[in-house]
Amino acid sequence: MLVYLQRMDDPQDKAKLEQFYQLYRGYMLQIANSILHNKQDAEDAVHEAFLSIAKNIKKFSDPSCPKTRSCIVIIVERKALDIYRKRKKYAEEAWTEATVFNRSESREDILTDCINRLPDRDREAILLRYSHGYRINEIAKILGISYAAAAKLVERAKEKLDQLCREEGLL
């Protein structure tokens, strides 16, 4: 027997979650399946991802905007990689597909390439913090980790990025 406690508030949030589900169900399953190559595991990852989305539903504005979509990708990839890691106990980097990025020699492109070369976990932290502008407490809630762990994750990700930037002569 399980006990659930919920607050009766904001039916708009529920409607928004339904919208997310209708729009992103197939999208998220495809992404999860591309990592896990197993339908059942992909469904589990998407379910976990929706739990995280539901918890943070107020943080998302328009369900169809690119920023929201990008955040959805981060969450579902994270959940899929967590499942993958538990199942295989291999380095997660082995399975993430590289993002194709055509780099020029502009400073911005070099920096973008450095972000591309970060391990997945660190890149997620950088994206949530800088592209999405989330604060540490929000990142902690989205990734389902403690405040201190999120703070440390962002800090270490930034250090790794700085190191890559130094190697590229940006610093």
């Binding site: 027997m1 399980l2 006990v3 659930y4 406690l5 919920q6 607050r7 009766m8 508030d9 904001d10 949030d13 529920k14 979650l17 729009l23 992103y24 197939g26 999208y27 399953l29 495809q30 059942q40 469904e43 379910h47 929706f50 739990l51 539901a54 918890k55 539903i57 169809s64 979509r69 990708v73 597909e97 993002t99 194709v100 990025f101 911005e108 492109d109 920096l111 973008t112 450095c114 972000i115 591309n116 890149r123 913090r129 800088y130 592209s131 502008g133 604060r135 540490i136 389902g144 980790i145 405040y147 201190a148 703070a151 962002v154 800090e155 930034k158 990025l161 700085d162 940006l170 610093l171």
Partner: protein, 343 residues
């Protein structure tokens, strides 16, 4: 140093490139299993978080998981029993308690807690929210129990979910109660009753027998807690409060600045001292003074790591802890700025 603006532009550019690799969401078809659809429907309808889920996920941040709701009203349901304003509805495998009467105020500076818990159970997580309190207990071998109460009319719903259970009518003291004995081995039983005097619905969910559940229920007593919080009146420039929790007899506040640095301030009056976890390999401990009280200052030799200050204030009968990136002097300055704030 890479500027935040540069980082924002570059990370947005990376995300654009990443999204370009995926088809449009509308174009994604994916056949799902009926089991998945059922799970997702449940999630959307209830958007809930069972106590078991906390254990499985090991969530570090414990809060009441108040999310969405209201969807269950639209389902076909049958009101089966009503008492003292709390109505129980049976929705398939879900037993839902919902209050439909005049609102009651959450008691000020009092919480209701069981004074007896079975051997081996220790408090694992606590959550105090106006109108609803949840305490999770855990044994060393991973058995989880929870004690919950909801004040009448403060907008909360309790649901018990069981694939197969027997429901019996029992008494907790003078109050009639619903006892749920789960037929599935290893699953928790539950006890639910309303307390007319206290205007609350109590729920216990635990791997306990009928006798033990009732004993725990009958041990519930009023516990008074302080009406005053002890909070810093000075925090370094640039830091803002981003999260705060006020359990009885304590507080925990997180401050953060734009650079992502954080300060965690907390105190506890539970007479159990305080734990501190520093991850640095090379920490120097100094004995310092915070006002008239001796304190331990933990200085991480890696300047990028947080330092910590821990002390006991005998006058306030509280253990304090500050974790943050500042120097020892700054941490002491925060500590010495603490003032009494009436809640």
């Amino acid at each position: 140093m890479i500027s935040d603006d540069d980082l924002r532009r570059a990370s947005q550019k990376w995300e654009e490139a990443r999204l370009g690799q995926f088809p449009e969401p509308e174009a994604c078809g994916f056949e799902t299993t009926p089991k998945f659809e059922r799970k997702m429907k449940k999630l959307i309808e209830r958007t809930d978080h069972p106590t078991k889920y906390w254990l499985k996920k090991g969530l570090a941040c414990f809060m009441l998981f108040f999310l969405l709701g209201g969807g269950l009203l639209s389902l076909n349901s049958e009101a089966r029993a009503a008492f003292f304003g709390w109505t129980r509805k049976i929705l398939g495998t879900v037993f839902e308690y919902r209050y439909t009467g005049e609102d009651a105020s959450a008691p000020k500076n009092i919480v209701y807690l069981p004074s007896w818990i079975p051997d081996g159970f220790e408090i694992y997580r606590e959550s105090y929210h106006e109108g609803a309190v949840m305490i999770a207990y855990l044994t060393k071998d991973g058995h989880l129990a929870s004690f919950i109460y909801n004040v009448n009319g403060t907008g909360t719903v309790v649901q018990l979910v069981s694939e197969s259970c027997e429901v019996h009518q029992v008494f907790v003291g003078e109050y009639p109660a619903d006892l749920y004995l789960d037929n599935v081995e290893g699953e928790n039983n539950a006890l639910v009753w309303t307390d007319e005097e206290r205007n609350v619905l109590f729920t216990i969910n635990a791997p306990l027998s009928e006798k033990e559940l009732i004993k725990m229920g009958e041990s519930v007593m009023d516990v008074a807690y302080s009406t005053v919080h002890y909070l810093p009146s000075w925090i370094p420039d640039g830091f803002e409060t981003v999260d705060e929790f006020y359990p009885p007899n304590g507080a925990k506040i997180y401050y953060e600045n734009d650079a992502g640095q954080f300060i965690a301030f907390s105190y506890s009056m539970n007479n159990k001292g305080t734990n501190i976890q520093l991850t640095g390999d090379n920490v120097e401990i100094q004995r310092v003074q915070v006002g008239e009280y001796p304190a331990d200052l933990y200085l991480d030799q890696d300047e990028d790591e947080n330092n910590a200050l821990v002390w006991e204030d005998e006058n306030r009968k509280a253990f304090f802890q500050i974790l943050g990136p500042g120097s020892g002097d700054e941490l002491i300055k925060i500590a010495e700025s603490i003032v009494d704030v009436a809640s």
